[in-house]
C-alpha cells in the first residue's frame, strides 16, 4: 500500500531542466556581466559616486548616527556639515528610526585642514610673531604637537586657549619632552562635539537630539580591512573547492565554483543596484551565501553520483535531469525555510541584521537557481569533455593493436 503525503511538487513530475540550459546560462552570464558593469557605472551616477556604497570599514572616515529633534532634509544636513568644515559628507536616512540619519565623512580627526592656518595665526597674534616654531599634525591623527620658541616659559593652558580660539575641540594639552623644549602634546578627540556644533549652528540650536553611535576608521586600516575581506572570499572559495574535489571528483569541482562565483557576484550586483551599504557585515553575508548556496548543489550532485552508479543504461545528461527532478522538492523546501527566516529579518530587523538578511535573501534565490541551472550543465559539459579525452587514447590503441 502506498502512502500519500502533503506535497508541493508531485514526485512523478519530470521537468526538462537540462534541455533548457542554454538560454538560461546566457541570461545568467548577462546578469553577472550587468552586475560587474554596474560597479563602474555607479561611480559616475549622480548621488552615488562609488562603485558600491562602501561603509567606512573599507574607505576610512567617520560615520555617525545622528538623531534630530525634528524632521530635517538630507541636503540641509550636508550643507550644515560643509559650512562646519566637514567636506564631502554623505547623509543616508535611517528609515527604521524617526528623524535619524547616518552621516559619513572622510575626516577622522577633530582638527580640520582649514583650521591649521587659523591655529598658526592664533599663536602669532597671542604669543608673538615668532613664538611658534612648528605646529605638527598628521592628517587623521588624534594628536598634534605644538613646538614653541625655546627660552621663554609657556603653560599648557595658554596653548589650549589659543587652539580653542581657533575653533579646535581640544580635550587635553600636556607638556611633551623636557620643560625647556616648550613642546606640547594636544589630544584631539572631539569629533562628535564638532559635528554637533556644526549642525546646531546651521540648523538651529537643539536640532541634534543625540549622536548614539560613532565609528571611525583610519584610511590605512580601511585598506587592510578591504584586503582581508577579499582574501577571505578567495580563501573560502578555494577551501570549498578543495573539499568538493576530495569528496567528489574533478568533474564536480568547476561546476560548484562557477555556481558559487555566480551567486557571490549577483549578491554584489544587488548591492550595486540598490546602493545599500556595503560593509564588513556584507562580506560576512556573502561568505555565508557562498557556504549556504553550496548546500543545494551538494544535494543535487550527491544524487547524480548515486544515480550514475545505478543507471548505467542511461546517458549522463538524462541521469542529471532525473537527479535534479528527484531532488527538486528538497532543494526548494530547504531554501524556502531559510528564505522565510531571512525575509523576516529583512522586514523586522534593523541595521546590520537587515543588510545581512538582504544579502541572504538574494543569495538564497540565486543559490537555488544556480545549483540547478548552472552547476549541473557545467557538470554535463565537463563529463563529455572527459569522456572524449578518455576515448581518444582508446581508439588509438585499438587501431594500433592488430599488428
Amino acid at each position: 500500500m502506498s502512502q500519500r503525503f502533503f506535497e508541493l511538487i508531485r514526485p512523478d513530475h519530470n521537468f526538462d531542466f537540462v534541455g533548457k540550459t542554454k538560454p538560461l546560462l546566457l541570461s545568467s552570464a548577462a546578469l553577472v556581466l550587468l552586475s560587474l558593469l554596474l560597479l563602474p557605472v555607479n561611480m559616475f551616477l549622480p548621488g552615488r559616486g562609488h562603485a558600491l556604497n562602501f561603509a567606512i570599514d573599507f574607505r576610512g572616515g567617520t560615520e555617525m548616527r545622528v538623531d534630530f529633534t525634528r524632521a530635517v532634509e538630507p541636503a540641509a544636513i550636508r550643507e550644515a556639515m560643509e559650512s562646519g568644515g566637514f567636506r564631502d559628507s554623505e547623509v543616508v536616512p535611517l528609515p527604521e528610526f524617526k528623524n535619524s540619519y547616518l552621516v559619513r565623512f572622510p575626516a577622522v580627526s577633530a582638527l580640520q585642514p582649514n583650521q591649521i592656518a587659523r591655529v598658526e595665526e592664533g599663536f602669532r597674534q597671542k604669543l608673538g610673531a615668532d613664538s611658534l616654531r612648528k605646529f605638527e599634525s598628521s592628517e587623521g591623527g588624534d594628536k598634534a604637537y605644538v613646538r614653541l620658541l625655546k627660552g621663554k616659559a609657556f603653560e599648557p593652558s595658554q596653548v589650549e586657549e589659543i587652539l580653542r580660539g581657533a575653533g579646535v575641540t581640544v580635550s587635553q594639552v600636556q607638556r611633551f619632552g623636557r620643560p625647556e623644549d616648550n613642546t606640547f602634546e594636544v589630544v584631539l578627540v572631539g569629533l562628535e562635539k564638532e559635528v554637533r556644533t556644526a549642525l546646531d549652528a546651521t540648523l538651529g540650536q537643539g536640532a541634534v537630539a543625540s549622536i548614539p553611535s560613532v565609528g571611525s576608521v583610519g584610511a590605512k586600516a580601511g585598506k587592510e580591512l578591504r584586503d582581508n575581506g577579499i582574501i577571505s572570499l578567495l580563501a573560502a572559495i578555494g577551501f570549498i573547492m578543495l573539499y568538493i574535489l576530495v569528496r567528489f571528483d574533478f568533474r564536480y569541482g568547476p561546476g560548484t565554483v562557477v555556481a558559487l562565483l555566480h551567486d557571490a557576484l549577483l549578491v554584489l550586483g544587488a548591492f550595486a543596484l540598490t546602493y545599500k551599504e556595503f560593509s564588513l557585515a556584507t562580506i560576512a553575508a556573502i561568505l555565508t551565501v557562498i557556504g549556504y548556496s553550496m548546500n543545494d548543489t551538494i544535494v543535487v550532485f550527491d544524487r547524480i553520483r548515486e544515480n550514475a552508479g545505478k543507471m548505467r543504461d542511461k546517458k549522463f545528461p538524462q541521469i542529471v535531469n532525473i537527479s535534479v527532478n528527484e531532488t527538486l522538492s528538497r532543494t526548494i523546501l530547504t531554501s524556502a525555510t531559510v528564505f522565510f527566516v531571512t525575509l523576516a529579518m529583512n522586514i523586522w530587523g534593523s541595521g546590520v541584521i537587515r543588510d545581512f538578511a538582504f544579502a541572504m535573501n538574494v543569495g538564497v534565490i540565486v543559490g537555488t537557481y544556480s545549483s540547478i541551472f548552472i552547476a549541473s550543465p557545467i557538470l554535463i559539459w565537463l563529463n563529455e569533455k572527459s569522456l572524449q579525452t578518455q576515448k581518444k587514447p582508446r581508439t588509438q590503441r585499438s587501431s594500433s593493436s592488430p599488428v
Binding site: S216, S329, L333, A344, M360
Partner: protein, 603 residues
C-alpha cells in the same frame, strides 16, 4: 523496544539537561533575575555568554603602534646625544648631526664646521653608540660620517614599542574602573574594548588612552609625621572602609646602618583607599607639596594561592626629581656575582647630573618610579650614583621576578621613548542602541521561527513536530556552547542564531524527503527511516562542511562583531549536525517502534 534506544535517550536527556543548566545563568542575566539563582549554582556554572559592545554599548578602539616612527624618534634622540657628547667630551664646536630617512632606513649624517674635528669622532667615541649604530661611510675630505641604525637594535626597538604601547594602555585602562576591560595585542595593533561605559565617558576615556605616557621619578617621604596621623585615622575608620589596612615598613641604610621606618595604607582594592583619601577631613588633607600614589605589591614567590595582589600607598614629594625625557635607555641584565636579574638605566648627560644630585641627597631613602601616576617600583637608593648609569636590583631569581624586571624595563622605556600610538579604528555605541536593536531582532526571530515551525507542521505533520522540537533543542545547545566557551554575542551573532533556526530544519527536510522516497518505493516505515537516515547522511555532512568552511574562514579574517557572527555560525552548524542526525533519529525510532504494525507513518 531496543536497548540501544534507551541508552541514547538517557545520553541525550543528560546532554540537554546539562545544556539548560549551563545556559541558565546567561538567561537569568538577560532577564535580570540572576539574584534568584542560588549562589552555589552560579558558582558551579559561572560561564556565561557575554554581550558584545554593539549590544550593551561601549567603546571599541584600535591603536596602531607606529613602530617606524619609534625608530625615527630614537634616531633623533641619538643625533642629539652625539651632538651633545661631541660638544662636551670632545670640545668640538659646530658639529651637526642630522637624520635622513625614516624607520629602519634612518641614517645619521655627522658634519663638522672644521673638517679637522672629524678625527675626534674616533672608534672610542663610537663604541659608546655601538649598540645602536654602525658606521656606514666616512669621507676623509669633507669630514662627513654617516651612521645607520643597527638592524638588531631596530628589531628590538620595534618589539619594545609595541609591548610598551600595550603596557601604557593597560595601565590607563585599569584606572578607568571599567568592569572587564579588554586590551589585546594583534601584531602591531592594540585592541581596546570597554563595555558598559556611559556616552558621557567616551571622550574622557579616549583622551586618557590617547595621550603620551609620562614617566617621573619622585622621592618617598618616609617617616613623615603626616603619615603617622593619617594611619591613626585610618585605623579608626576601618569599619567604614572594609579591607583598608595599615602596614609598616623597615629597612636599614647600607652605608651607616641607619634605620628607616614608614607607615602606609594597604588594601586589596585600590578604590577603597582612593575613597578613603577623597573623604578625608580638611585638617587631614594631603599637603600641597606632597601626594599619595599607589603601587601593586608583588607577592612572595611561593604564594600563588591568592591571585589578587594588594596595593600599597607611598607618600611622595610632589616635585619630580627627573622625568622620562632624561633617560636614554633601560635594559634587563643579570648581576655577575649573584645572578639576580637587575634593571639598568642610562641617563643622558643632563639627566646624569640631575640623578647624581638627587641620589646623593637622598641616600637610604626610596625613589618611586611612576608611569602615568602609578608607581611601578620604589627602590632604595644605596649611594650617590654618578656617571649616568643606575642599577635596580631585584629581590629574587624566579621567573616571576624576571618578568617583573621586564615589566619595569617596559615602563622605563615607555617614559624614555614613548611609543607613538595612532588610533586607526573606533566604534562607540550608546547604551540605548543595543536594546533597541535586540528588540527588533527578537521580533524578526519570533516571526521567522514561527513561520518555519508552522510550515514544518503542515508539510510533515508528526515528523514536522520532531523537526520543530529538534530545532528548539538546537538553539538551546547552540547557546549553551556559546556560554561554555564564553563567546560574545553580537548583533551579527544574533543574525547567525536566527539563520541557524532556518538551517536547522534543512537537514531534516533532506532526511524526510529521502524517507518519503523510500516509502514510495514500498518500504516499511522502519526500513524507510533506516535507509533514509543512512543514505542521506553524507549529503547532510557535506552540506554542513561547506558551511563550516565559510564560518571558519570568516572567523580567521574577521574582527569584532563579525567574529561574533562566525562563532555563532560555527557553533550553530555543529549543533545542527548533532540534532538532525542523532537527536531526530531517536524521536523517529520512538515513533516507528511504537507503531510497529502500521504500514504508514506521518511524514
Amino acid at each position: 523496544m531496543e536497548r540501544s534506544f534507551y541508552y541514547r535517550v538517557t545520553a541525550y536527556s543528560f546532554i540537554t539537561l546539562l545544556s539548560v543548566m549551563i545556559l541558565l545563568p546567561s538567561v537569568a542575566d538577560w532577564t535580570h533575575t540572576a539574584h534568584r539563582l542560588p549562589e552555589w549554582y552560579t558558582k558551579m556554572f559561572s560561564r556565561k555568554i557575554a554581550l558584545g559592545l554593539d549590544l550593551q554599548g561601549g567603546l571599541h578602539l584600535v591603536y596602531e603602534v607606529q613602530v617606524d616612527k619609534a625608530v625615527s624618534d630614537k634616531a633623533d634622540r641619538l643625533a642629539a646625544q652625539i651632538e651633545e657628547k661631541l660638544a662636551k667630551d670632545r670640545k668640538v664646536k659646530g658639529a651637526h648631526v642630522s637624520r635622513e630617512g625614516d624607520g629602519a632606513e634612518s641614517r645619521l649624517r655627522v658634519t663638522f664646521q672644521n673638517k679637522a674635528d672629524a678625527r675626534k669622532l674616533d672608534r672610542a667615541f663610537e663604541r659608546e653608540f655601538a649598540k645602536y649604530l654602525t658606521r656606514e661611510s666616512d669621507n676623509g675630505q669633507t669630514g662627513e660620517t654617516v651612521f645607520k641604525m643597527d638592524a638588531d637594535y631596530v628589531d628590538e626597538l620595534r618589539g619594545y614599542a609595541v609591548s610598551q604601547g600595550v603596557e601604557t594602555i593597560k595601565n590607563r585602562v585599569d584606572k578607568l574602573g571599567v568592569a572587564e576591560p579588554i586590551v589585546q595585542r594583534k601584531q602591531n595593533d592594540i585592541v581596546v574594548e570597554l563595555a558598559g561605559l556611559s556616552q558621557a565617558d567616551f571622550q574622557r576615556v579616549k583622551t586618557m588612552i590617547g595621550k603620551t605616557a609620562q614617566l617621573e621619578f619622585k622621592m618617598v617621604d618616609d617617616g613623615a609625621e603626616y603619615m603617622q596621623r593619617l594611619s591613626a585615622y585610618a585605623e579608626s575608620k576601618k569599619t567604614q572602609y572594609p579591607g583598608l589596612e595599615v602596614g609598616f615598613d623597615y629597612w636599614q641604610q647600607k652605608d651607616n646602618g641607619q634605620q628607616h621606618t614608614d607607615v602606609y595604607l594597604k588594601s586589596k582594592d585600590k578604590s577603597v583607599m582612593e575613597r578613603f583619601l577623597k573623604d578625608l577631613p580638611s585638617e587631614l588633607a594631603v599637603p600641597n607639596d606632597h601626594q599619595i600614589l599607589f603601587e601593586q605589591i608583588s607577592r612572595d614567590e611561593d604564594d600563588d594561592k591568592t591571585p589578587d595582589k594588594p596595593w600599597r600607598s607611598y607618600y611622595l614629594h610632589r616635585r619630580a626629581e627627573l622625568t622620562g625625557e632624561y633617560l636614554t635607555d633601560a635594559e634587563m641584565n643579570f648581576d655577575q656575582t649573584t645572578n639576580r636579574p637587575e634593571v639598568g638605566i642610562t641617563f643622558d648627560s643632563e639627566g646624569a647630573s640631575l640623578f647624581e644630585k638627587a641620589s646623593g641627597a637622598n641616600i637610604g631613602r626610596k625613589m618611586a618610579i611612576i608611569l602615568d601616576e602609578k608607581i611601578s617600583s620604589a627602590p632604595t637608593i644605596e649611594g650617590r650614583i654618578g656617571g649616568g648609569r643606575a642599577r635596580i636590583t631585584m629581590g629574587g631569581y624566579s621567573d616571576k621576578v624576571q618578568q617583573e624586571a621586564k615589566d619595569l624595563v617596559a615602563v622605563l622605556k615607555a617614559g624614555a621613548l614613548p611609543a607613538p600610538l595612532r588610533k586607526t579604528f573606533e566604534t562607540q555605541v550608546g547604551a540605548s542602541l543595543g536594546p533597541e536593536a535586540v528588540s527588533k531582532a527578537r521580533t524578526s526571530m519570533v516571526i521567522g521561527t514561527l513561520a518555519v515551525v508552522i510550515f514544518m507542521l503542515i508539510y510533515y505533520r508528526a515528523s514536522g513536530i520532531i523537526a520543530d522540537v529538534a530545532m528548539v533543542f538546537n538553539v538551546i545547545y547552540l547557546l549553551s556552547i556559546m556560554a561554555l566557551i564564553q563567546a560574545t554575542l553580537t548583533l551579527p551573532g544574533i543574525a547567525a542564531v536566527v539563520l541557524t533556526v532556518g538551517m536547522a530544519v534543512d537537514a531534516n527536510i533532506i532526511f524526510y524527503e529521502r524517507i518519503r522516497e523510500e516509502l514510495r518505493g514500498g518500504k516499511t516505515p522502519r526500513q524507510a527511516v533506516e535507509n533514509g537516515f543512512g543514505r542521506a547522511l553524507w549529503t547532510v555532512v557535506d552540506a554542513h562542511v561547506t558551511n563550516l568552511v565559510a564560518g571558519v574562514v570568516l572567523y580567521s579574517y574577521g574582527t569584532g562583531p563579525i567574529r561574533g557572527f562566525a562563532v555563532s555560525l560555527i557553533a550553530g552548524i555543529v549543533c545542527n549536525l548533532f540534532t538532525s542526525v542523532w537527536l531526530s533519529r531517536v524521536m523517529f525510532d520512538y515513533m516507528v517502534l511504537r507503531n510497529k504494525k502500521r504500514a504508514t507513518m506521518s511524514i
